[in-house]
Structure formats: structure tokens, C-alpha cells
């Protein structure tokens, strides 16, 4: 019975594309998220997501002007270009240290949303046209979308996993990385660019408003139970894929928003792990005091 249902779901070409896209996004988003959490920039994904909305609207505006059909043909490319530019600008501003991080993010949040709404009205559209991008529209993933997703995800994984030690070095201790002769700026920009690509790739699955959750929540879960950077990243990727696939499958049988279901599922996993952690650690009691010999001689038996 259940197997038939699952076979039915897997046989649906629309669902096949959606599941593949969801799996790739679930794999890639936590990779970038690990670096963002490491440098305490958890909200950067959100900032880039808001900027990408302006890109969507700009793409729409240009598509309209060029009389392309459909009108939103350039929406995704527009989001990619704008998000990458936005992410690099954020990185350069951060490097200068002139504007504090949260002010820069606030400017992006509001500038991005306002720009998106402004340009979409200029393009003769309504805010309703933006909804698909804000909250995701995985059921409308086309073959072309899927190819773009495959290419961009591969790029994210090659950079994010392949350069793991170097990116870790920069995120962990930028001063040391500089003194080690590492190309710190190039590596920082690499992180910003793969973050921007992740945002645009995840846009179709969970929507721009929830992109950041997919990057951050799996990492938050993984670091509850892991002690190493490598394992945290691997575990987060596993959790990302699991919640994306199971969340999407739930919406095959129940009429729910896929993006919201995936994110709620991830947060449920976080809550369960956070609550179960004391019980898990009970098996392996951890003495919080470091193993260091005493500085003074004391007769403990006395």
C-alpha cells in the first residue's frame, strides 16, 4: 500500500524534478551555512535573500521590456547576478569595518524588499507575482531550472567542500590566515559568492524568506552533537537532505506549502535533538574541567 504510494510519487516526473532539486539544495545549503555560523554571520543568507528579490524584479522588468515570453524568464538569472553583487559588496563593507555588520544587514534587508516591490510595480506586475519567489514554488521546477540547479550546486559543493580547510582557516582566525599568507580576501569573497548562489538555488525550493533557515538550522542541529568541524558539516548535509526530501514528500499527500513544511521539520528536528541532548550525554559523562595537573600540592586525603 505505502510502497505503491511511494512508487506513484517517484513515478511522477514533476515530483522527480522537485525531489532532485530539493535533495541538491538540502546538500548544498548547510555547507555554506557551516561557514556562516562559524563566523557568526547567520543572518547573511537572509540579507542576500532580500537583495535577490530586487534581482527577481529587475529580471522581470528587463524581460518585460524585451517582450520575452514568459515575462519571468530572466527572474532567476537576475536574482543570481544581483545576489552575487550584493554578497560581494557586503563582504567588502565588512572587510573595511566602517559600517557595523548589523547596520549593513539592515540596509540590505529593507533596501532589497523595497527595491523588489518597486521594480515589480514598474514592470506592471503586482506583489502577488513575487510570492512564488518569497515562499518557493518547487512544483513548477522546469528541466531548465533543474539544470541550473545542478550546475550551481556542483559549483557550491566543489568550492565549499574542496576548499574546506582553507575556508575554515579564514573563518576560524582571519588574523592567522593573513599571517599565513593565505589569500584572505579571495577566500572571503568565495564564501560570499557561494552563499549568494545557494540563496538563488534554494529560492525555488523554500523561497527567499526561508532560505537562511535551510542554511543555518541543520548546522545548529549538527553542532549540538558534534565536536569537529568536518563532522558538523557532514551531519548538517545529511540533515539538510533528510528534511528537504521528507518535507517535500509530506506535501505530495497533504496540501501544504513545501518550503514551510521543510523549515518547520528542520526546526522540529532541532528541538527534539536539543531536548534529547542531556539524555544522550548522560551515557558519556563529560567533566567540564580540563585535565590539567594541580598548580599547588594538596593532600587530598587530609
Amino acid at each position: 500500500m505505502i510502497l505503491d504510494e511511494i512508487a506513484g510519487m517517484l513515478g511522477d516526473p514533476l515530483m522527480q524534478r522537485a525531489l532532485l532539486a530539493a535533495m541538491l539544495v538540502g546538500l548544498a545549503a548547510p555547507v555554506v551555512g557551516t561557514y556562516l555560523v562559524q563566523r557568526r554571520l547567520s543572518l547573511l543568507g537572509d540579507g542576500i535573500g532580500h537583495v535577490a528579490l530586487t534581482g527577481v524584479a529587475l529580471g522581470w522588468l528587463v524581460g518585460n521590456a524585451m517582450n520575452l515570453a514568459p515575462h519571468d524568464m530572466l527572474a532567476v538569472p537576475g536574482a543570481v547576478v544581483t545576489a552575487v553583487i550584493g554578497a560581494v559588496v557586503i563582504e567588502l563593507v565588512r572587510e573595511r569595518g566602517r559600517t557595523s555588520g548589523d547596520v549593513a544587514l539592515a540596509l540590505l534587508f529593507y533596501g532589497g524588499i523595497a527595491g523588489g516591490v518597486l521594480f515589480i510595480s514598474l514592470a506592471g506586475g503586482t506583489n502577488a507575482n513575487l510570492m512564488a519567489y518569497l515562499f518557493g514554488s518547487i512544483s513548477t521546477v522546469s528541466s531548465a531550472d533543474l539544470w541550473l540547479t545542478v550546475v550551481l550546486t556542483t559549483l557550491i559543493l566543489v568550492v565549499g567542500v574542496g576548499l574546506r580547510t582553507a575556508l575554515f582557516a579564514v573563518c576560524h582566525d582571519e588574523e592567522f590566515a593573513r599571517a599565513a599568507g593565505l589569500p584572505v580576501r579571495a577566500l572571503n569573497i568565495a564564501i560570499a559568492v557561494i552563499a549568494a548562489l545557494t540563496v538563488t538555488v534554494s529560492m525555488r525550493v523554500v523561497g527567499l524568506l526561508l532560505v537562511s533557515a535551510l542554511m543555518i538550522v541543520p548546522v545548529a542541529v549538527a553542532q549540538l552533537v558534534s565536536g569537529s568541524f568536518r563532522r558538523t558539516m557532514g551531519l548538517a548535509m545529511g540533515i539538510g537532505v533528510t528534511v528537504c526530501l521528507s518535507g517535500l514528500s509530506i506535501t505530495y499527500w497533504n496540501d501544504l506549502s513545501p518550503g514551510a513544511t521543510i523549515v518547520v521539520l528542520a526546526i522540529v528536528v532541532y528541538t527534539v535533538v536539543a531536548l534529547a541532548r542531556p539524555a544522550l550525554q548522560h551515557n558519556r559523562p563529560h567533566d567540564p574541567h580540563p585535565h590539567v595537573p594541580d598548580d599547588v600540592d594538596v593532600d587530598v586525603d587530609a
Binding site: 557551516t34 555560523v37 562559524q38 563566523r39 557568526r40 574542496g162 576548499l163 580547510t165 582553507a166 575554515f168 582557516a169 573563518c171 576560524h172 582566525d173 588574523e175 592567522f176 590566515a177 593573513r178 599571517a179 599565513a180 599568507g181 593565505l182 589569500p183 548546522v219 553542532q223 558534534s226 565536536g227 569537529s228 568541524f229 568536518r230 558538523t232 558539516m233 563529560h286 567540564p288 574541567h289 580540563p290 585535565h291 590539567v292 595537573p293 598548580d295
Partner: protein, 257 residues
């Protein structure tokens, strides 16, 4: 012979304040030089400027005969910054932190023998068995030793250390002194920022003293001022909240005005 470190009229301005006002400094090959000075004298900024972690307003720096920049043989330089907090975002093991020291401008991925080198470096600082332990579970002094291992893992010819023993537990201080003795015996060049010479006094061949961002002494290691060495001297560091938490493992960033 070209000196390992050469600085000419180095001037550094941070936040509109001239932290270094024309510093000249030279460290020969194989020499062990201590950089001394009161807190806020600019000694930390000086070493950070020497390794390129802080931009230089004017002046010149040469490391191992090359002007500061891409052409410097970074793989031969080991830098130990002032102790950082262990609680940086995602957890990492001691081995992972040390492995990041294997990278430099021409190597963005760890080499094949990475694991072996990492173990050897942790062995040098007496932390062999902690390679897979999360750094956040180590004591402040052990974390400092991890950072020293991160600098040693690339087998540097020049070692630059910023207050490596400040607020560090006694076993870690002893382990560090032993490591440094071994390195200097093998002809490595060492430039070390210190608050006081302490256990390292026998190793230090020359001392440079900074005051208000300028060199005021360059020569034989000076004796501590009377009030510091007196038997009744109450050694208090009100500027250094780190010290009292030194071995709790929760010590955070050091305060440096």
C-alpha cells in the same frame, strides 16, 4: 646575511591613533629576540604589522629577505596570535585547528601527510592525545599550545609569538619553554612578545623595549623595574581579567588597550 625580520620606520595608525611611530627593528637569522613593553606600548600591534595582519601606514617590512606581500616565503613563517576565545561558532578539534596551519598562499588544500604532521606538531607541545578533542573542551593554556602547534606544523624557520605564556597554566608554560629551547637549538629564529621574561629569560639573546609606539631600548635583556622584582610586590594585572580565569578554559579575548 639578510636578517630574518627587518623593519624600517614602520608607522601604524589604527582608528586615527598613531600606534607605532617609526619603529626600526632587525632580527638576525637564528636569533631569539624578546619584544617587551608595558601594555599599550604597541608591541602587539608591531608583530601584527610585521606579519601583515595590520596595515602599515608608512615604512618598510622585510621577512626572510622579501618585502611584505605575496613573494614572502610564508610557508617558512609561523605566527602565534594572542590567545583567542575557543568558542568560535562551529566546534573544531585540536587536530583541525592545527591542520589549518599547513596552508599558505601556494597551498590551499592540506598535503597528503597532513595527519602525520599534525600529530607531530601536537606532540611537540605535549598534546598528542588531544588531536580529536574539541578545542572548547581544552584549558586556556592547552588552547594556547594548540595555537603554537598550528604555527609549528609547517616547520617554520621564523617563529613570531604574541604573548604566548600570558595567563597560561604552569604545565603549559613549562611545555612551551621546553619546545622553544628545542627550536632555538635547531637554529630557528624567534621573535616573541612578552610581558616579562620569566621562564624564557635563559633563551632570550636580545630585547627590544617599546614605549608609546617607539623603540626605547635595543640590546641586552633589561632587568625588571624594582617595584616588579621586589619581594613585597603584589603582582596585580587589573587590565588583564584573563589571568584569573586562566585555567578554567573559559578565558576569552585578552584585553589590550
Amino acid at each position: 646575511m639578510t636578517p630574518a625580520v627587518l623593519a624600517r620606520a614602520v608607522r601604524v595608525v589604527l582608528g586615527g591613533n598613531a600606534i607605532l611611530r617609526g619603529v626600526d627593528l632587525s632580527v638576525s637569522d637564528g636569533e631569539v629576540v624578546a619584544l617587551l613593553g608595558a601594555n599599550g606600548s604597541g608591541k602587539s600591534t608591531l608583530v601584527r604589522a610585521l606579519v601583515g595582519a595590520v596595515p602599515i601606514e608608512s615604512g618598510e617590512v622585510e621577512l626572510l629577505g622579501r618585502p611584505l606581500g605575496r613573494t614572502v616565503a610564508w610557508e617558512r613563517i609561523g605566527y602565534v596570535p594572542q590567545r583567542m576565545s575557543a568558542a568560535t561558532g562551529v566546534p573544531a578539534t585540536a587536530g583541525e585547528v592545527v591542520a589549518s596551519g599547513l596552508l599558505h598562499g601556494r597551498r590551499l588544500r592540506p598535503p597528503r601527510h597532513a595527519r602525520k604532521s599534525v600529530r607531530a606538531a601536537l606532540d611537540l607541545v605535549g598534546l598528542t592525545h588531544h588531536v580529536d578533542r574539541p578545542v572548547r573542551e581544552l584549558s586556556g593554556g592547552q588552547q594556547q599550545r594548540v595555537l603554537i602547534a598550528r604555527a609549528l606544523v609547517r616547520d617554520p624557520a621564523l617563529l613570531v609569538l604574541d604573548e604566548p605564556v600570558a595567563g597560561v597554566d604552569l604545565p603549559s608554560q613549562e611545555a612551551f619553554a621546553a619546545t622553544l629551547t628545542d627550536l632555538t637549538a635547531r637554529g630557528r629564529t624567534v621573535l616573541v612578545v612578552l610581558h616579562e621574561l620569566g621562564a624564557l629569560a635563559p633563551l632570550v639573546q636580545r630585547a627590544i623595549v617599546l614605549r608609546h609606539g617607539a623603540v626605547v631600548h635595543d640590546g641586552a635583556p633589561p632587568t625588571p623595574t624594582r617595584e616588579h622584582s621586589g619581594a613585597d610586590h603584589d603582582h596585580v594585572h587589573p587590565h588583564d581579567p584573563d589571568e584569573e580565569y586562566a585555567d578554567t578554559g573559559i578565558a576569552g579575548m585578552r584585553w589590550e588597550p
